[in-house]
Amino acid sequence: MTDMTSVRFVDRMPKFMRRLDPAVTTAFACILLLLIVGSFYSTSFLSPEYLLQQLKVASFLGVIATGMMLVVLMGQIDLSVPWVVSTGAMMACAAAAYGPIGAALAIPFGVLCGVLIGLVSGFGVAYLRIPSMIVTLATNAVAQGLMVVYTGGFSPQDSATPAMRWLATGALIPAVPNAVVVWALIGAAMVFILTRTTFGRSVYAIGNRERAAYLSGIDTRRVVLIAFAVAGGLSAFGGVLLAGYASKAAQSMGDAYLLPAIAAVVLGGTSILGGRGSYLGTVAGVILITLLQSILSVMQMPEAGRQITYGIVIVAMLLLYGRTPASRG
């Protein structure tokens, strides 16, 4: 009986305490380390304004990485991020050009475009059994082509709606940027989905053993399809926020988000092979990546050096994590 009560107690504990993943603690330790290093270069590095600004920048990546995490948890990958982000941004801005109704529907329309691209990718992976790496590269190329046709290869002239700008730059709660609130809401929803719904359990199960999940009577193909659609929608939503932040969409505005999104997910302890990882880790990974980028710019390193350092640090961290054996049998 005592055994059972202790089990109950463990149940009540928050998930991150129950399974304190070493990767997540490492990620948070790295964040602290970066903050300390950063404070040597600039005293303003630890000021609340600067940190909130960082958090705001991080929230764009955070939204995109949320979708990426869902896909990586299944042992897949989404390489269509760059142009799904751009598509979401451009389509939302394009809708804004069609009067008040267009403006009202701008955000959902942008997200919908991302969902559609995600559905195509998901269909290819789940039903046609093409490796996700290939399918999403292809959908990325197609999305790029469509956008180039639409814009004629120039930066589109449409600008973001006030709602988009407000979401990205406004502050409903004083001093807290709306983008951060949006990320927090999406994050909370994702935590709930991953831990408390049949869909979330199925995602983890597919990442661990797709065959076992299938033989348990789960429609694994549908789960994969939906996960890719959600990931596409979140990437596009990230693009919508970015467009709001910059007031307009731009060609290849999503290019800078593919590697950081994957890196954030993996640095946060999600196994690239799938089946293992917590959202808290992804949050840590996103903040870590954002701080790293920020510090490199604070150090006033030339762009080329920044890219090189950034790449090396990510590879080094991934190597470090890759050494911890995944608990697969």
Binding site: A213, L215, I218, G275
Partner: protein
Amino acid sequence: MQTGQAEPLFRMEGISKRYGGVTALEDASLTLRAGRIHALLGENGAGKSTLIKVMSGVVAPDEGRMIFDGRDVSFASPAAANDAGIVCIFQELSLIPDLSVADNIIVSDPPMRFGMIDRATQRKLAEDALARAGASDIHPSALVKDLPLSRRQMVEIAKALARKPRILILDEATSALTAADVKKVIDVLKRLRDEGLALLYISHRMHEIAELADDCTVFRNGNYVATYKAGTKTDDEVVELMIGREYNHVFPPKPVRQVDQPPVLECQGLGWIGRLRDISFAVRPGEVVGLGGLDGQGQRELLLALFGVLRGTTGEVKVDGKPEMISSPSKARGAKCGMALIPEDRKTEGLMLPMTVRENLSFAALDRVSNAFGIIDTAKENALIDEMVKLLAIRTAGVDIPVGALSGGNQQKVVIAKWLMRQPRIILLNDPTRGIDVGTKQEIYQLLRRLADDGAAIIFYSTDYDELIGCCDRVLVLYDGEVKRELAGDEINVHNLIASALNISTAEAAARVGGRA
């Protein structure tokens, strides 16, 4: 041709091999002579496979010695055994489909000239090997993937011959072949014997053994039983030699069957790409129906076909008298069919090992504990999990540890429990007691009978004949994808099971056993 009295070419003595706690071979011995074909007989798990793995360097024995050509030998790898002259042709084909026949035959040690493969010599060698294998009609530069299965098997033999073996082992090498091809292979093997090779032949086809073998050795339970000259024993005597397991299980009593209830599952003319052929049977509620036969005769495929895993099945499956198209596991487990499948390999098919006991237990029944939006009712989930942990007495330090941390027996209980959560009406079990401890086995036997008494229909495949005898009301014996025989009541005994598994007619044997009982 050498005389049989000469010093044997190969001898193994006192060979033992254990895998964890399971003894696969115990003090086994075997003697091979040049110029003779030696057949190896035994039922599932008799130790045949382990024996040839030891011989061909795939596994190292724990004890014992091997004498080859008068010298003590031990093989570190299959390549070492190959070099010594022992070559094995396994049941699964080892050819690379996208390479040519010649490339495949000379894959391990191609002739070199100036650091490059000497194509002309290679082709010559391949042609020689094919000719020796009696398959000179196969073009050396044809791609293996363009050849039909039976031709590939001939290439496989040629590949083995190209390694200049002195001992050739054939493990079920004819199981993929048509009758005409088997005839050819038999001729080739006889010629190789006359050339002075020693052949070790493993097959479940008794008529091939009768035609080919000079000597036969019977194994049982990992032990050597007897060696005799071919033709000196009748089929019945051979079966008797193969019988003889130790009975160490206690089975719950079988109740008197009520035959009045209509069958819950009916299967008519079920087939699947030649691996299952015209299988028809019916199962009533409360019945435990066993699937018998040697390993790999279609039992697994039958269970998977019923559960909707296989594509392209033919025939009709009726549940509650109504035809059902079961096209996926999610349909099979649905309310209309109410099926559950305890799969063969719990580590890759039954469980997600790194996930918790909780997540695994409730996984197949998540739709039962969640609302329309798929949000899990934790209280309901916990209640069901507690119930199952108690019902099956799953020994775990808590439900939030990875299921991979449990013992094999407890893991298997989790697999069974996860399906019992759905209260299935038709339970398919694929060798559920393999690799688990005796205590847990007993618990599973009791559980199966209890589930049947509660009205479930159970189809139970086991490679252990004792289980079939102890647990089942009826046993369907499969051979080559067909139900060859149905045993019921007192007919379910070891003799009948082995005889029908080997597809040898033992009408007189059945009568004798019946008379004795």
